[in-house]
Amino acid sequence: MDLFHDSPLLTGVRQMLGGFAQHQIRPIAIQHDQEESMPWELMRTAQKLGLSQTAVLDGRKKLTGVAEDPDPTKPKSQGRLAVIGSEELAFGCAGICLALGGSGLAASPVARMGTEEQKAEFKRLLAGDDEKGHIKVAAMALSEPATGSDISGLTTTATRDGEHWIIRGSKQWITNGQSAAVYVVWAQTEPAAGRAGVRGFLVARGTPGLVPGRKETKLGIRASETAQVHFEDVRVHKDMMLGSPAVPGEASGGLADTKKMLDSTRPVVAAQGVGIARAAYEFLLDRVRGGSLHGTPMASHQHIMFELADMQMEITAARLLTHRAAWLADHHQENVAEASMAKAYAAKVAQAVTTRAMVLLGEEALAPGHPVDKWYRDAKIYDIFEGTGQIQRRILSRQLTGMNPT
C-alpha cells in the first residue's frame, strides 16, 4: 500500500498548497486571529488556485486540472488530495483553512445526496459577490443549542405545507453562519420516524424568516466565522429537500447519509490537526537549530531534543492514520474505524504538541500575537467539532463489540 507516492499529483498539490500556506496564509494569520475576521481577499485569491467554494462539487479537476477516472471501480485520489491539501492549509492557519473550506461542509451533502437540479441551484446561489463585495460562501446548519454530539436529537422541524416545507428552529456553531449565501439546513420531517425523518434543505439567504444570529467569540480558529442561525417559519419549496424521493434510485438524503458524509470528512479534519501540530513542531525546531541555552547549543539538550523527537513520532503516526483512512476511501473500502482513529489521534497530537511547545518556549509564547499561542488555541476545536474525541471512541467501541458504552 503506497499511501503517498503513487501519483505525482499528490506531491504537486502538497507543494502548491504548502507554498500558498507559507507565503499567502502565514503573513495574515495573526491579524485575522486578533481581529476575528474572515480573510475575504485571500479567499478570492484562493479561487484562482482552484480552492473555490464549490470545489467539492467540482471534483478534483479545478484544483489539479485532471478529472477523476469515471470508472467507479478504479481508485480515486479525492480523499488523499483533500488530506494533503488540508494539512498544508492548516499548517498555514487552521482558521483560514476553515474559512477557505467552510463552504465545503455544505457542499458535501449536496454533492452526495443532491439532485442535478439541486447541485445547479447550489452553484447558482454561490455565483458572484454578495452585497458587501465578498465572494459568496455556504453554511452547513446541523448542530443545535441542545444538540451537539447527539445529532439524532435535532429539534428543528420541517412541516409540509402543499408544495413547500416550513422550517422552524435554531442552529448553533454554524460555520459561515452570518455570511452565507446559501444554507444546507437539517430538520426533522417526521418526528415518529426518528433519525430517518431528518432531511436536508437548501435555503437561500434572504428567504423570509431566515435570521443569521450572533457571531461567536471563540478560543481559536478565529478567522473562520461561527454563528447562530434562526429559522422562523422559513418556507422552502419541496424541490429543495436534498435527495428528493422524486428521483428514483438516488440516495435517501436522510441522517444516515449525513453520518456517512461525516465519516468522509473526518480524515480531512484529522489532517488539519496534523497541520497545526506540524506548525508548532517546525517553529520549535527552527528555534532550536542554531539556538543556545546558557551558552550551550539548544540541540545538545535531551530535555529539548527528546521532546522534539516525541513530537516527530506523534505527528508522523497521526499523518499515517489520516492517510490510511483517506486511502481506504479512495479505494472504495469502508473506513469508519480508521477515520475515527485518525480524527481522535490527530486531535490529541495537535493539543499535546502545541501545549508542550508553549511550555518549552516559556514567557516568549505569552507575547500577544505569538503563533504558538494561536496554534495552542486553534488545536482544541479538533477534539470537539466533527465529532468529539468521545464520539470517535464511541464509534470505535461500537465497532469492537456492537455496544454503545456509557
Binding site: S143, A146, T147, G148, S149, D150, G153, Q172, W173, E216, T217, K218, L219, G220, T226, L293, H294, H301, H303, I304, Q351, T355, M358, V359, L360, L361, G362, E363, E364, A365, L366, A367, P368, D373, Y376, R377, K380, I381, D383, I384, F385, T388, G389, Q390, R393, N404, P405, T406
Partner: protein, 358 residues
C-alpha cells in the same frame, strides 16, 4: 502532622472565597473583554488587605510579624478559583515588598513602600532567558539594557523587582516607557513590555547579590503560582461539573458518561495534589525548611501540568459551548498558560540545576 486550618486561616479562606465567588467571578468576563480590571477592584481588594499585606507596618503597610506563605497559598487557591488575571494583580506586590523589606536598603524601602502604600503596584521579573545585559556603573550599581516582559502589572507598576544571574535589582520605572500589550492569558492583568536602555539602578537599589536570596524570592513566587493554579484547575472542574449535570445528550446528563467522570475526577485529584504541594511548599518556606525551594519548584511543575490538563478537559466537557466565550472555561484554558510559562520552563530549570551538580 495537622492538616486542619486554625481559626484565623479558616476565616481568611472563608472571606476570600466569598470575595472570589461573588466579586472576582462576577467581574472576570468583563475584565477579560476589557483587558483591564474593574475600577472597584482596588477599593474592594484594598479593604480585604491586598496590596500592602507584605509591606511592614512601620512603613505604612500591614505586616506586623513574619509573613505567612501558608496563608498566602490558602488565599491564592481561592483567588485562582475566582479569576487568575485579577489574582495576578492582587498578588503582584508580595515578592517585591517582602524582598525589599528583608534585604533592601533604607532608600529602596523608602522608594518602594511609599509607592505601594499610596496604591502603587510592583512586579516581579525573572530574566530566565538572559535577554537583559548588565553593565556595572563603577559605584556598586548597574545599568540594564534589553527587553523587559511581557509581564503582568508592568503597564501600571511603579517598580520592578528583577531577578537576574543571582542578583535582585529594584527598578524604579519612573520615566520608563511601557507598551501595554494584551496577551490571550490573564488579559485583565495590565501586561506590558518595556525596552530598557542603560537603565540605571543605583547601588542602594541593588537589593541583594546573594543567589540564595534570588532563589528564595523565586520560591515564594512558585508556591504562590502553584496555589493559584490549583484553584484555577478546581474552578474549571466546578464549572464543568455543573454543566455536565444539566447537559443531556443521548438521553442522559453527560455527567453520567464514564469517560467524562474520569476527566473530572482525574483533574480534581490533580488539583487536590497540587494544592497540597503548594501548601507544603509554603509551610516549608515559613519554617525555613531546607527543602523549601525544591518543594516550591516541584509544586509549580505539578500545578502547571494539572491546570493545563484540567482547563483543556473542562473545555472538552463543555464541548462546543466550551470553545466560545459564553461560559468561563474558554477563558480559563487561556488563563492556564502563564502558570507554566512565567519565570521560565520550570522543568528545564530543574534539569539544568541537577545536571550542574552531578
Amino acid at each position: 502532622m495537622d492538616f486542619a486550618l486554625d481559626d484565623d486561616q479558616q476565616m481568611i479562606v472563608d472571606t476570600i472565597r466569598r470575595f472570589a465567588d461573588r466579586d472576582l467571578r462576577g467581574w472576570a468576563a468583563d475584565a477579560d473583554r476589557a483587558g483591564a480590571p474593574p475600577d472597584r477592584l482596588a477599593h474592594v481588594a484594598g479593604e480585604l488587605g491586598f496590596f500592602t499585606d507584605a509591606v511592614p507596618a512601620d512603613a505604612g503597610g500591614q505586616l506586623e510579624a513574619a509573613y505567612s506563605h501558608a496563608t498566602r497559598a490558602l488565599r491564592g487557591f481561592e483567588l485562582g478559583r475566582g479569576c487568575p488575571g485579577l489574582a495576578a494583580l492582587l498578588e503582584t506586590n508580595v515578592e517585591p515588598a517582602l524582598a525589599v523589606g528583608r534585604w533592601g536598603s533604607p532608600a529602596a524601602k523608602a522608594s518602594l513602600f511609599a509607592s505601594l502604600t499610596a496604591g502603587g503596584l510592583a512586579a516581579l521579573a525573572h530574566d530566565s532567558r538572559g535577554t537583559l545585559s548588565v553593565d556595572a556603573d563603577g559605584a556598586g550599581g548597574a545599568r540594564l539594557t534589553g527587553p523587559l516582559g511581557p509581564l503582568p502589572a508592568l503597564a501600571i507598576a511603579s517598580h520592578v523587582l528583577l531577578a537576574k544571574d543571582g542578583v535582585l535589582y529594584l527598578l524604579d520605572l519612573a520615566g520608563v516607557a511601557r507598551i501595554a500589550v494584551a496577551p490571550s492569558s490573564w488579559r485583565a492583568a495590565r501586561w506590558a513590555t518595556a525596552e530598557l536602555t542603560a537603565h540605571a539602578v543605583a547601588a542602594d537599589h541593588v537589593v541583594s547579590r546573594d543567589p540564595a536570596a534570588v532563589a528564595e524570592v523565586l520560591a515564594w513566587a512558585r508556591a504562590s503560582l502553584a496555589a493559584r493554579a490549583a484553584g484555577v484547575a478546581t474552578a474549571a472542574m466546578e464549572h464543568a461539573e455543573r454543566y455536565a449535570a444539566e447537559r443531556v445528550q443521548f438521553g442522559q446528563p453527560i455527567g453520567r458518561f464514564e469517560s467524562l467522570i474520569r476527566l473530572r475526577d482525574d483533574a480534581l485529584t490533580g488539583a487536590a495534589a497540587a494544592r497540597l504541594m503548594a501548601l507544603h511548599a509554603a509551610w516549608a518556606l515559613d519554617t525555613h525548611h531546607p527543602s523549601a525551594h525544591d518543594a516550591a519548584s516541584r509544586a509549580r511543575v505539578l500545578a502547571g501540568d494539572v491546570v493545563t490538563r484540567a482547563t483543556i478537559d473542562a473545555v472538552q466537557i463543555f464541548g462546543g459551548y466550551g470553545f466560545v466565550n459564553d461560559y468561563p472555561v474558554e477563558k480559563l484554558m487561556r488563563d492556564a498558560r502563564p502558570f507554566e510559562a512565567l519565570h521560565g520552563d520550570e522543568r528545564l530549570g530543574r534539569v539544568l540545576a541537577q545536571k550542574a551538580v552531578i
